[in-house]
């Protein structure tokens, strides 16, 4: 009963704040120095620090031997383990048996993007991923590490697959391969940016029309979109890394 009352009070307090935030484009990060320009960067750095603090808190209180025993109730650590075991299963499917090597990058990518997306649902905050420069940064990390892993696994012969399977056609295949490799970070960043800013615009639009009940439906949709986009980003990164690392006759 008390919990429900608290929930209702919180909602009543938050709704006008959300409407205010949506209409004036106000975010709390604007109060920081140079906040007008760097608000998305502040938000992204805050999320990163938050994740570091959470993981340190989860790990530091335990010895290594205790880490294998799962927590008895639903804790933050169990939540992260649920997400990561799901990702690790998919990574096994796509990357094969050496997927463990790439999971630190991909898992932190997923959680970082997920929390940046979810930040947009809190009143008074904009999701950093609704700014193109943040998503391009994320996609560039994936792009560079894909080729880094490719060179690391296959040596210099990694660049041979840019020339295509048939040598006389190599001058034709080289520009085609270069374009299709450049299209990957572009499509990754554009998709994430478009979905998140679109979702945010829908919530803001309905908030301006009906600042009651209706926006919460679209906020529920926003939670789904946040999960889905973080997931799609990670799965595509896995597929790209798999394409660079696994050498077969046809990539």
């Amino acid at each position: 009963m008390r919990k429900r009352l608290l929930g209702i009070t919180a909602t009543a307090l938050l709704l006008p704040a959300t409407a205010m935030a949506a209409e004036h484009g106000f975010t709390w990060f604007q109060l920081l120095p140079e906040g007008g320009h760097f608000a998305p960067m502040y938000a992204a750095v805050t999320i990163a620090l938050l994740l570091v603090v959470i993981s340190v808190l989860a790990v530091s209180s335990k010895k290594t031997a205790e880490m294998v025993i799962p927590d008895p109730s639903f804790t933050v650590r169990n939540f992260f383990e649920l997400i990561l075991s799901f990702l690790a299963g998919i990574g096994d499917d796509i990357l094969g048996h050496h997927s463990k090597k790439y999971m630190p990058l991909l898992g932190s990518c997923f959680i970082f993007i997920l929390f940046m997306n979810l930040l947009g649902l809190i009143p008074g905050f904009l999701p950093p991923t609704s700014k193109m420069n943040i998503t391009i940064g994320l996609a560039l990390v994936i792009f560079l590490s894909t080729h880094f892993f490719g060179v690391k696994e296959n040596g210099i012969s990694y660049f041979k697959h840019f020339l295509g399977p048939y040598m006389p056609l190599a001058p034709l295949m080289l520009p085609i391969e270069i374009i299709s490799h450049l299209a990957r970070p572009m499509s990754l960043s554009l998709r994430l940016f478009g979905n998140i800013s679109g979702d945010h615009a829908v919530v803001a639009g309905f908030m301006a029309l009906v600042p009651f009940v209706v926006p919460s439906i679209f906020m529920g949709l926003g939670v789904f979109v946040s999960f889905m986009q973080a997931f799609v980003f990670t799965v595509l990164s896995m597929i790209y890394i798999a394409g660079a690392v696994v050498h077969e006759e046809e990539h």
Binding site: E177, I179, A183, V232
Partner: protein, 88 residues
């Protein structure tokens, strides 16, 4: 194939084939951008842009082809697994 495997492969394929459309269109745009800058550099407007739009389109088709090959390989694997005696 269990229910969990089914759901997992569904999500994976959703990501993989959902990416194709945007990748095809962006390939053409990137090809066009490369062609435009080369034209400006070499002063051969508009010919290199036309050629590189062609390359961009080919790159889009190439990523479609790559996905088709991958899908074919996976279907073969599935068939082999299902057809195996004693398999489910």
């Amino acid at each position: 194939m269990t229910d969990k495997d089914d759901r997992r492969s569904f999500y994976r394929e959703l990501g993989r084939y959902g990416a194709l459309g945007i990748e095809m269109s962006i390939s053409v745009v990137i090809g066009m951008a490369i062609g435009w800058y080369l034209d400006r550099w070499l002063g051969t407007a508009p010919w290199l842009m036309v050629v590189w739009i062609g390359f961009g389109f080919a790159a889009g088709v190439r990523s479609l082809y790559r996905a088709a090959i991958q899908a074919q390989r996976e279907a073969d694997k599935e068939e082999k697994k299902d057809g195996k005696p004693g398999g489910d």
